[in-house]
């Protein structure tokens, strides 16, 4: 079966004054329908630039992005806009990703105004359905973002991504700013949505533990390059690279005895 | 760091050129004909044409400008149409009083404004409201009203200070007139800036290290709050170039402002051109000074 998304030898370079910064260098991976690709890396690894390139927000210097067999590396602005219905992002900060002055209903309706010609009544039905999918109710439509908690706002951000009925959702540190118990709720929601709707996720995180929980395949990035990539289970049990091993060793285990035993290996 | 300075200097050159070109073009486009101004209404068309050719006015505008600029570079700003005096000596002869007013006002405004701003930024409360009110009043009350009011009270009511003339005592009232609004503007900026800075995480960290509050305020917070304040002081100097026109008229100070107004009333274009050029140079120097101060105050600016 063809992968839904194929990224091939992707490179992104930024031109600074007199110098050139290679933010992403020769990155390749594939995302199959209904599966999750986890991209893990520390700050400066280029993972955010990579998602920008996939979403068409960052100009690509070389390589290819192929979506459903179509080369969208240099898609026209018009085609790009059509594609946004298929490729939806969810960002880290649930407090700044919603316009504080607009109601939830207005925010969720926007993608439908752009991508469809549905009448107002049908739009409302779609929006209500999306809210219910994320565990909120249609009654919340006329409320403003400030009336919701961080976890609820992240649910709303996910609902906004769902309204357009995308096939791929890019989750950029989508659970990183959340408290532990809320993080668990959102991860549960994402996993359930994937099972129910057959969604494909590109899951970007600095947290290897989160990636391990949700990803079928994992790409480890460092300084713009892929350190290693493969099935998640393999990468977390027997990493091929020194860097991945160091990442794994640096993660903490919520168990004092186990952690004390591991500590000896961390330099 | 040297690159930043070069960049700033590179901004000053087009600024000077643009200002001089604007004033030159405006003057050239003006409906009046210098030949008519000089010869009067009664001359023959041939006489006018001869004079225009003699003055170089029959050439294309850009050539005329280039010619003017070339002379300016050699220190020759032309001659007044009215008094026939060289523009440069007219300007230099009147520069000192104007500069005294501007420098005096800047120093007084900065001292009072920064002191008030720090107090209200750190302590808030009543002094915060006082700064708010003062800045609004300083903004709204025109200089041409404050000046005469000060004259009525301090020169006519109780004759403490001279109402007019360019002496040291004579500078007190003009400077006070301008410094009320100047100090208010600086106080407001200092207050806002200090208040934001005192919220900073490093201020909390400094307190947690047990450093004396006064040291935190004056050494750390003030230094970091100073960049926007310096900007406002720089803008104030530019505004004072306008303000001095008013106070020189009120207090009969023989300065550049008075010269500008008189030349405007008499349509003495070369003289106005010269004054504009002189004022632009002041602005260029002030901006350059402000930019250099940024570099001293803010280490992050040094790498840009």
């Amino acid at each position: 079966m063809n992968p839904l998304l194929r990224v091939h030898e992707l490179g992104v370079r930024f031109h600074m004054r007199r110098s050139e910064v290679v933010a992403v260098d020769g990155v390749s991976f594939e995302a199959r329908k209904g599966e999750t690709v986890g991209i893990v890396g520390e700050s400066g690894s280029g993972k955010t630039t990579l998602t920008g390139a996939v979403l068409g927000r960052v100009p690509i210097s070389c390589g290819q992005v192929v979506f459903r067999g179509e080369d969208v590396t240099h898609a026209t602005p018009r085609r790009r806009r059509e594609l946004t219905a298929e490729l939806q992002p969810v960002y880290q900060d649930p407090f700044s990703s919603l316009n504080p002055a607009r109601t939830i209903g207005q925010t969720l309706e926007e993608p439908l105004l752009v991508h469809t010609r549905l009448p107002a009544g049908r739009r409302r039905t779609r929006v209500e359905a999306a809210l219910e999918q994320v565990g909120l109710s249609g009654r919340d439509l006329d409320r403003l973002p400030r009336e919701f908690s961080g976890g609820q706002r992240q649910r709303i951000a996910i609902a906004r991504a769902l309204v357009a009925e995308p096939s791929l959702i890019v989750l950029d540190e989508a659970v990183s700013a959340l408290d532990l118990s809320v993080q668990a709720q959102i991860l549960n929601l994402l996993l359930r949505l994937q099972a129910d709707l057959g969604l494909t996720y590109l899951f970007i995180s600095h947290d290897l533990d989160v990636i391990r929980h949700v990803s079928h395949t994992t790409v480890v990035m460092r300084r713009g390059q892929v350190v290693e990539a493969g099935p998640t289970a393999e990468i977390v049990t027997c990493p091929a690279s020194e860097y991945t091993r160091r990442l794994l060793d640096s993660t903490l285990v919520p168990d004092p005895e186990l952690q004390a035993a591991r500590r000896g290996r961390v330099i | 760091m040297r690159r930043v300075i070069v960049k700033r200097l590179a901004f000053a050159v087009p600024l000077t050129l643009l200002a001089s070109f604007l004033s030159f073009v405006l003057v050239a486009l003006s409906p009046g004909d210098p030949a008519v101004t000089i010869l009067g209404e009664g001359a023959t068309p041939e006489q006018y044409a001869a004079l225009r050719s003699q003055l170089g006015l029959d050439r294309p505008l850009v050539i005329q400008y280039g010619d003017w600029l070339w002379h300016v570079l050699q220190g020759d700003l032309g001659r007044s149409i009215i008094t026939k005096e060289p523009v440069l000596s007219g300007i230099l002869g009147r520069a000192t009083p104007t500069m005294s007013v501007i420098v005096g006002t800047t120093i007084v405004s900065a001292l009072i404004g920064v002191a008030m701003g720090i107090h209200s930024g750190v302590h808030g409360g009543v002094s915060g409201r006082v700064v708010d009110m003062l800045s609004l009043v300083g903004f709204a009350v025109p200089h041409y009203w404050v000046g005469p009011a000060l004259v009525v009270v301090f020169a006519l009511g109780m004759p403490l200070l001279p109402a007019t003339g360019y002496t040291l005592a004579g500078l007190v009232l003009p400077v006070a007139t301008l410094a009320i609004s100047g100090a208010a503007a600086i106080a407001k900026q200092t207050r806002d800036s200090m208040r934001a800075t005192m919220q900073g995480e490093y201020v909390r960290a400094l307190r947690a290290r047990g450093l004396p509050e006064r040291r935190i305020v004056y050494r750390h917070a003030l230094r970091n709050a100073s960049v926007p304040v310096v900007t406002v002081v720089g803008l104030l100097v530019v505004q004072l170039l306008s303000g001095t026109v008013i106070v020189e008229s009120i207090f009969a100070i023989p300065g550049l402002g008075g010269l500008a107004v008189a030349s405007t009333q008499q349509h003495d274009l070369p003289m106005i051109q010269g004054v504009v050029f002189a004022f632009t140079m002041v602005v260029v120097v002030v901006n350059l000074g402000v930019d250099l101060l940024y570099l001293v105050l803010n280490p992050r600016a040094r790498v840009a």
């Binding site: 991860l187 993660t251 285990v253 919520p254 | 025109p142 909390r204 290290r209 008013i246 009120i250 504009v276």
Partner: protein, 610 residues
């Protein structure tokens, strides 16, 4: 209150504008009607504002004069808005050459003194009022351009705009729906302030005898005339100047009111100060540990409790974790322990003891000496916690030099030594660096060195590794562990991460909804938690979970400060909750090796076994 601040000046303005507009109907006399028998007459029933040197009615002249001055200002304002708003939006919305050109031109224009430019225009166009006011609008528009551009850029950088773009909305839609509503406020504010400036500049020119010429009245030339008569008729100046000042003041007040109303950010709270000293005598209580909190309650604004009845103590050399989710009061507790509560937040009751002494009873100078010398503080965000204007070396030296009797060379050596102790690899380079030149991990080492500079016995670390990469986090945790062991430090570590607790802490204080719910040694805590919240939060941790499995969660959210239940504050979210939990506040009860605030601890232990 807010409404009145807008309504009163707006009403005054409207009155003035209407009076000026209907001058022909309202004016008691013709503006040019002379009466040489009644020159410089004082205000009277016939001439409310008196008469001028030619016996003309001043009130009528002001009403007619306003027509020139206000319409001039209106022209300038129209140009200001028409030029400034579109250019500002364009520059702010599109980055690149258009933005650079517009900004450059605006900077150039801003550098020219306005009145001088206007003098040139007046000289060239022979006192043409309209051209002059258009020129004023053009030169002034730079401030509008800058403000609109800045506001637009700020909105454009917001994640919600980026999200809207991600949703495929076109530029026009984003401009109209997302950007304009947010820049409308700054635009209105700028326009009002410029309106006042325009009136002031227009009248200044008139005052200088430029622009519209006498005998036709303008507010400016009326002031000019009144100054000539300042000695015989001072009220003349008072009235003419006063009208202009009143208009400018009212416009300014309207602008201020609009700014206050449209400000999107809440007003900054006033700066925080060390907690206020309460009267009392310093007392010492033995054996309570080097740092002890006894029944500490912290309130905001004197009414809303943020932290209630918190008690725990740290022994020398002990690392204690203060754990909980956001909104549980753990950071506020740490700041109470430091004595650095934000403004408006106060220690309402309870005692903080450092080395046995009641901190609140000390003088503020004595309290300050505790900080640094007895208590060190490691912040959450390493780089912003360093003063950006000073090098690392000078910030270290500042603290080190508070110890008396050190020579410069000794101070320098002590600073280098401190950095070596926190395992900074390239000490001379880091000493000479500014905070923005070093990495987050390096900055956190510097913060630790600063906290350790005066060899304190207590270290309070607020989420010290949350902002760092995992590999760096491991190094910093190792460093803290070594320092604590080597120097017998008591460490209070605020964290939300069970992994950090497991790695570093001996005991943990778990907080929920502003109160302590459990204190246990970590081995017990992880194996047999005594409070249902501790257990639920441990289970929500995905580390150790089966991949792709649904994680156990806690229903609902942490209640907001002050909205806490009367009985057990966790009862609404607790699987074990029963009627007895909600009946009354639950006290802390002893457990085999700690305390827990749960009436059903026994049930919990049984459930754990099952």
């Amino acid at each position: 209150m807010r409404r009145l601040e807008l309504l009163i000046p707006a009403a005054v303005l409207t009155l003035v504008v209407l009076a000026v507009l209907f001058a022909p109907l309202l004016a008691p006399h013709q503006p040019l009607e002379q009466n040489l028998d009644d020159v410089l007459g004082s205000p009277s029933a016939q001439h409310w504002f008196g008469t001028d040197s030619l016996g003309r009615d001043i009130l009528s002249r002001i009403l007619y004069g306003g027509r020139v001055s206000l319409s001039g200002a209106a022209i300038a304002l129209a140009v200001f808005v028409a030029l400034g708003v579109p250019l500002g939006l364009w520059a702010g919305f599109t980055s690149g050459p258009a933005d650079r050109t517009i900004t450059w031109l605006a900077d150039l224009l801003l550098a020219l003194p306005t009145v001088i430019i206007l003098l040139v225009v007046l000289a060239v166009f022979k006192d043409n009022e309209v051209v002059t006011m258009v020129a004023l609008g053009v030169t002034g528009s730079t401030s509008m351009i800058r403000v609109v551009r800045g506001a637009t850029k700020a909105v454009r950088g917001q994640v919600f705009v980026v999200s809207a773009e991600g949703a495929g909305l076109n530029q026009w839609h984003i401009l109209r729906r997302h950007v304009l509503p947010h820049v409308r406020g700054p635009i209105t504010v700028q326009a009002t302030f410029f309106a006042a400036t325009a009136v002031l500049v227009e009248t200044s020119l008139g005052f200088l005898g430029l622009g519209v010429q006498a005998p036709r009245p303008t507010w400016g030339n009326l002031v000019g005339e009144s100054i000539q008569q300042i000695q015989p008729a001072p009220w003349f100046l008072l009235i003419t100047g006063g009208v202009v000042a009143l208009v400018a003041l009212c416009v300014g007040l309207v602008g201020d009111a609009i700014r206050d109303m449209t400000a999107t950010e809440p007003d900054l709270p006033s700066p925080s100060r060390p907690a206020r000293a309460r009267p009392g005598t310093a007392s010492t209580s033995p054996s309570s540990g080097v740092l002890a909190l006894e029944n500490v309650t912290v309130c905001h604004g004197g009414v809303t409790p943020l932290v209630t009845d918190v008690s725990f103590a740290l022994r020398a050399g002990e690392v204690v974790g203060l754990v909980g989710e956001s909104g549980c009061g753990k950071s506020m507790t740490a700041r109470a322990a430091l004595g650095l509560l934000p403004d408006g937040v106060e220690l309402v009751s309870g005692v903080v003891r450092v080395d046995g002494a009641d901190v609140a009873a000390l003088s503020s100078a004595a309290r300050r000496r505790l900080l640094g010398r007895l208590i060190g503080y490691v912040p959450q965000d390493p780089v912003p916690s360093l003063d950006p204007s000073f090098t690392v070396g000078s910030q270290l030296a500042e603290v080190v030099a508070t110890e008396p009797g050190l020579s410069r060379a000794e101070v320098r050596e002590r600073c280098a030594d401190l950095l070596r102790r926190v395992r900074v690899p390239d000490v001379p380079r880091v000493l000479a660096s500014y905070p923005h030149q070093i990495s987050g991990g390096m900055a956190q080492r510097v913060n630790i060195a600063l906290a350790m500079a005066l060899r304190p016995r207590i270290l309070i670390a607020d989420e010290p590794t949350t902002a760092l990469d995992v590999t760096v986090q491991a190094e910093i945790l190792d460093l803290l562990r070594t320092l604590a062991a080597e120097q017998d430090l008591a460490v209070l570590l605020v964290t939300h991460d069970w992994g950090v607790v497991a790695d570093l802490c001996e005991r943990a204080v778990v907080m929920y909804a502003g109160e302590v719910v459990e204190i246990s040694p970590v081995a017990t805590l992880f194996a047999r938690p005594s409070h249902p919240y501790t257990r639920a939060l441990l289970r929500a941790d995905l580390r150790g979970s089966t991949p792709f499995s649904q994680l156990p969660t806690i229903p609902g959210v942490v209640p907001a400060a002050g909205a806490w239940a009367y009985g057990c504050r966790f009862a609404d979210r607790c699987v074990l909750a029963a009627d007895e939990c909600r009946a009354a506040p639950v006290p802390l009860r002893s457990t085999p090796d700690g305390v827990a605030r749960c009436v059903r601890s026994d049930e919990l232990q049984k459930a754990e076994v099952r």
